[in-house]
Symmetry: C3
Subunit: 152 residues, 3 copies
């Protein structure tokens, strides 16, 4: 059901991206899945790099955040089998590669948060932190990690 909704919205649910290093894309403990930080990679290619407010516009960064959160969902599916097992998106942490004086990290993060709302409705409403950072791995524009609750 939720995968079809993603397609209706014009997006694709990716396979879980292979970690860039010695770790797992996500780990489940009881009903919580903790994903690794996801960057805006599509089929192995980093789509948005550089500093938001300098190399990228807010609108581009919001698209980057959408890809990151879809990658988080790909991880969740790889662990629990189907997005339909999601009971609640619990928490996002959104790290934005920020140029000096760029202070709209919350608006970047909205790219991810609003997409979750469109896909999952009430189950997609989550707690969230959005912060700026001066550098991210491979100069990614955004990195997002997710905690979500799945059925027994």
């Amino acid at each position: 059901m939720f995968e079809e909704k993603i397609k209706e919205l014009g997006f694709d649910l990716p396979e879980a991206a292979k970690p860039m290093a010695a770790y797992l894309p996500g780990v489940q403990s009881d009903n919580l899945i903790f994903t690794a930080g996801q960057i805006p990679v599509v089929k192995g290619e980093l789509k948005y790099k550089g500093k938001v407010g300098l190399n990228l516009t807010l609108e581009e960064a919001q698209k980057a955040a959408q890809i990151c959160v879809l990658n988080c969902l790909g991880v969740v599916k790889s662990i629990t089998g189907s997005l339909d097992n999601i009971e609640q998106i619990v928490k996002l942490t959104v790290f934005v590669n920020s140029a000096d004086n760029f202070t709209s990290q919350h608006l970047v993060a909205n790219g991810a948060s609003e997409l979750l709302g469109e896909i999952f409705g009430e189950k997609g409403k989550h707690a969230r932190s959005a912060v700026g950072v001066n550098e991210l791995p491979v100069d990614s524009a955004v990195e997002i990690e997710m905690i979500c609750r799945v059925k027994d």
Copy 2:
């Protein structure tokens, strides 16, 4: 009880601040509440903005951290009904908008940690990370998120 303690200490427990974007102020999963990142907003007004070590002193940043953590408690109350349901403050993550060469993020975070100790005693003792960041949403001086454990 704990709300009275907050008043005795000369502070007010705020209502849960309305999120600045498409998310919830906090989400509960089993006995854990995850709050969204809280900034030093009082009644809709951002009280401390800019970079600690440049635009703000350490003492001002500690006061900002106090407001952030009170806002976290406001979120917890909005979800669980009363602060007296808190069993343990589990974890704080404290993001400090840091000027170059400002390296006392842990002392900024003490503003929040010590207040929790005064309010909750043993139940207020928590694990904590404090880090510097180069930018925060709306140029906030500090952003704090909380995980806390509440009764069944």
Copy 3:
């Protein structure tokens, strides 16, 4: 068993470092232990400070990450009594004090992740976020926090 493995690998498991401020080194909630952010302190002395990519090489930063994660394990032992109670390392968050244009935070974090794999095998595989920050407490080069799952 796992403590012996740490020695075989040429490392020491430290005592839980005393927090630098008003908080606890870690808190357990049900089966999860949340550690405080750990910096590369050995016996009270900060071993790696400054910005990775400017004051430190990648290799030095990886050694710093190893010390941080050993300090996390010291915290876990102080709470649960023995590393043998660890069921799974669930999540690391790795904050790297990053010079401008240093974008290999994931490789710094590998210092910690690979060591966990060597010590714990499958139980050491975890989800992970690695991000750059412009400043850390006391000018530490790296700060790492851990969530791990322990037996009942």
